[in-house]
Symmetry: C3
Subunit: 338 residues, 3 copies
C-alpha cells in the first residue's frame, strides 16, 4: 500500500507543505521512522526529534510547524488524523465473505448476507449472524446467540448460548462471553451451584479485548452498553452493567451486580467489588481497589506508590502500627494542653 | 419452559399463598421482573421493592410475608430455593451424547457411555472420558488425560497431557489445565528450562472458570481437592494444593508450591506468593497480597482503601516518610519525659 | 522410562555413592517420593527430610552428603542437574512431524521440514513455519506471520497476522499474540479506533505462558527480546519492548509504549503503566504498581503488607488522614521549640 502525500492531504482536507508526489508507505513513530514513513507530532515537546527523523513527512498542529525541515501536513488534531490515516495502511486481512468448508453451521442458524465463517468455526442452532459479520477460525457461537451486523469476531472466541451482540462489535481472540457467573450457595457442608440462567447483552460499537471474560447473569442479564471499549484480560461478573462509552483498561476485575456509569475511565488492573454503584465520569487509576459506591465524579486511587525495597519494608512495618501512632500523637497534643 | 406456581411449591415442598395455577416462565431480580417472573427476597430490607414489582410471585422467608400483596412461596432459605428452582429454568443446551463427525478421537482413547464430543474437539491417545461427560466444541484433551463421569468441559478448553479430573467437574471456556509451571534455572547468562514432568489432579465437584489456568507440577502434581470452586481468570502455579471446598474468586493469582487449606474464601484479584501455607477457614479480602504463611484462621486484608486522587497523592507522599514519622513521635514522647 | 542411577551419573558426569544398578523411574519432591524416585536436596536445611524419604536416591552438593543413608549423586548445582535430568523423564508427547488431515493450511504458506500441524490447526496465507516447529491442535497462525525453527506452539494458541517468532519459542495454550493494542481517540462524544497496523516481534528462546496476551503496535512493533520468559496470564501492551532475558511472573500487566530493560525480574500480578522506562536488572516484587520510570537498578515494591482484617480497617482509616498527621507532628515539634 502506497499513497502520495498529496492524496492523503486531499482525502482528509489537510494543508500540505512539501512535494505532493512524495510516497508514503507506512506510519511510524518519530524515533523509529524510515524513508517512506509518515509520522505524527502529538506534543510540542517532541519537536526536537524532528531534526533527526528519517520520516518522509510529519503531521502536526500549525503551532508546531515553525522551522520544520521536512514536508508536513497540518492538522489541529494529529491523533484524530492518525486514526483516520492509519485505516488506509491497515494490513488487517479481510476474510472472504463465505463459509469455509470446515465450518460447522447449524441448519437452524440464520446467517445474513456477506457473512464470513472461518475454518473450524461453529455456529449453533438458533444463532443469528447479521449481515457483513466475520466469525474467525475456531470461534464458537452458542445456541440462540445473536450477532449484529458488521461485527468482527476474531479466531478462537467463545460465545455461550443466549449472548446478544449489537452492531459493529469487535471481539478479540480468547475472549469468552456468557460463561457462568460465579454463584454457589453453601448447604450441608458443600456448595450448591446457582444456575446462571440469564444472558449477556452487548451494545453497538463495543470492542472487547483478547482473553476478556464477561459472565452471564443469574437473575438478570449482564449488560455492556453502546460504545464501551474493553481491553485485554478484563473480567466482568454476572449481572453487572457497564455504562455507555466507558473505557476499561487491561486486567481489570469487576465483580457481579455492580453498576458502572457512562463515560468512566477505569485504569488497568483495577478491582471493583460486587453490588456497588459508580456514577458517570469517574476515573479510577491503575490497580486501585474500589470497595464502595462512588457518587461523586472525579478521580479515585488507592495503593501506596512504589518504593525501594528497603524503604518499603520500613514503611509497611510502620503502617501496621499506624492507628496506634494517631493515638500517641493525640496524647502528646492533649498533654500539651490542646 | 413454563411451570405453575403449584408445581414449584409441590416439587420443593414450599407453602404457597396464592393461586397455584399462576404460570411462571422465568426467574428475575425484583426490580427488573416482568409478568410471569418468579423473584426472590433475600433480605428483609428489600421488602419495599415488593410493592412495585411486576413479578407474578415471590419466594421469601415467613418472617418477611406480612402484608405481601403478590402470591408467595415460603422458604426459610430463599437462596437455596433459588438454586434449586433455577435448575428448572436453565436454558443451558444439553449436547447430544454422540461424537460429532468433525471430532478427532484417537483410537487409543477410551470413551465411556453417553459421552458428547463436540465439533472439532480433539481426544488424544490414552485419554479416558468417563460416562456421561461432555467435551465442548474445539476443546483439546491431551495424551493420557482422564476425565471422570458427568463432567462438562465447555468449548475451547485445553487440557494438556496427564491431567486428571474427578467426577462432575465443570470447566469453562478458555481454561487451560496442565500447561508448564514456570521454572527456569539461570546458567551461564541464560535460563535452562526445568521440565514440568508431573501433572494436575482435580477432585470431584470442582468448577473452574473461563480463562483460568492451572499449571502442571515439576516434582509433584498440582492438586485441587474436591468441591473447590474457582472463578474466571485465576492462575494456580505448579505443585500448589488447594484444600477442599475452598472458594477462589476471579483474577486471583496463586504462585507455585503453596498450600491453601480447606474452606478458605479467597477474594478476587488476590495475590498469594509461592512456597507458603495457609491454614483452613482463612478469608482473604479482594486484592490483598499474601506474602507469608497464615496459621490462624480469620479474615486478612491489605491495601490502602480508595481515596480521591488529590488526597491519595498527599497520603502516599506521607507514606514514603512513615517510618521516619514514628521516630519523630518517639523523640517527642521521650523529650516529654515518658 | 527407566534409567539406572549409573547411567544418570555417567550422562551428567556426577559422582555416585551407591549401587549403579538402582532403577530410577521418576523424579519427585523429597516428602512425596516413592520407591524408584530420584529426589533433589536444594537446601541444607531440608536434610532432615532425608531420613524419612522413600526415594531411591538423592542429588545433592558434596557439603550436604555427610551421613546420608540413601544412595546419592553429587552435584554442585542440584537445580541445574534437576533441569537436565528431568528432560529424560519428561512425558511431554512429541507430535508427529506431519500435517493432520483436518489442518487447514493455505497453499500460500511456506512450511519447513519436519513441521507438525495438529488437528484443526489453521495456517493462513503468507505464513512461514520454520523447520521442526509444532503447531498444536486448534491453533491459528495469521496471514504473513512467521514462526522460526523448532518452536512449540501448544493447542488453541492464536497468532494474528504479521507476528514474528524467533527460533525455539514456546507458546502455551490460550495465549494470543498480535491482537489490537488498546487505542481510541475521543471525537464528538464517541471513540474513533486507532488502527493497530504494526506487528509483534518475539526473539529466540522466548517462552510465553498460557493465556498471556501480547498486543500488536500502532506505530511500531511490540518487541520481546531473546531469552525472555513470560508466565501465564501476562498482558503486554502495544509498542512495549521487553529486554533480553527478563523474567515476568504470572498475571502481570504491562501497559503500552513502555520499555523494560534486560535481566529484570518482574514479580507476579505487578502493574506497570504506559510510556515509562525501566532500566536493566530491576526487580519488582509481587503486586507492586510501577507508576514512573526506574533509572537505578535494584528491588522495588509497593503495597501495605497483609494484616488481620480488624487491624487493617483501623490502619487504612488512619492512612486516609496520614498527611494531616504529619502536619500535627510538625506543629508539636515546632511548639517544642525545634
Amino acid at each position: 500500500m502506497k499513497l502520495s502525500l498529496g492524496e492523503i492531504a486531499d482525502r482528509f482536507d489537510l494543508s500540505l507543505k512539501g512535494d505532493p508526489a512524495i510516497e508514503i508507505s507506512n506510519l511510524a513513530s518519530i524515533d523509529q521512522a524510515v524513508h517512506g514513513d509518515l509520522v505524527f507530532l502529538f506534543n510540542s515537546s517532541h519537536r526536537k526529534h524532528l531534526t533527526d527523523t528519517k520520516a518522509s513527512a510529519v503531521v502536526m498542529r500549525e503551532i508546531d510547524c515553525t522551522d520544520c525541515q521536512i514536508p508536513y501536513l497540518i492538522s489541529e488534531r494529529p491523533r484524530l488524523t492518525w486514526a483516520n490515516v492509519a485505516k488506509l495502511f491497515d494490513p488487517l486481512p479481510m476474510q472472504a465473505a463465505t463459509r469455509h468448508p470446515s465450518a460447522i453451521v447449524s441448519d437452524q442458524a440464520i446467517i445474513g448476507a456477506g457473512v464470513s465463517m472461518g475454518p473450524h468455526s461453529v455456529i449453533s442452532a438458533g444463532a443469528v449472524i447479521g449481515d457483513g459479520s466475520t466469525i474467525g477460525a475456531g470461534s464458537f457461537v452458542g445456541e440462540g446467540s445473536k450477532i449484529g451486523e458488521h461485527c468482527r469476531v476474531f479466531p478462537n472466541v467463545t460465545l455461550y448460548h443466549m449472548v446478544c451482540l449489537g452492531d459493529r462489535v469487535t471481539i478479540h481472540s480468547g475472549a469468552v462471553i456468557g460463561a457462568d457467573g460465579f454463584g454457589f450457595e453453601p448447604n450441608k457442608g458443600a456448595f450448591v451451584k446457582i444456575p446462571q440462567i440469564r444472558g449477556v447483552v452487548i451494545g453497538d460499537d463495543v470492542e472487547i479485548g483478547a482473553g476478556t471474560t464477561i459472565d452471564r447473569g443469574a437473575l438478570c442479564d449482564t449488560v455492556v452498553e453502546d460504545g464501551v471499549k474493553i481491553d485485554n484480560q478484563v473480567q466482568i461478573g454476572h449481572a453487572t452493567r457497564i455504562g455507555g462509552d466507558t473505557i476499561i483498561s487491561g486486567c481489570t476485575a469487576i465483580a457481579g451486580s455492580t453498576r458502572i456509569g457512562r463515560n468512566c475511565w477505569i485504569g488497568g488492573a483495577v478491582g471493583i467489588i460486587d453490588n456497588i454503584e459508580i456514577t458517570d465520569q469517574v476515573e479510577v487509576t491503575a490497580m486501585s481497589l474500589v470497595t464502595q459506591s462512588i457518587t461523586v465524579r472525579g478521580r479515585y486511587s488507592s495503593g501506596t506508590g512504589l518504593m525501594r525495597g528497603r524503604d518499603w519494608k520500613r514503611n509497611i512495618a510502620a503502617f501496621k502500627r499506624l492507628s496506634n501512632l494517631f493515638k500517641r500523637v493525640r496524647k502528646l497534643e492533649s498533654e500539651r494542653g490542646d
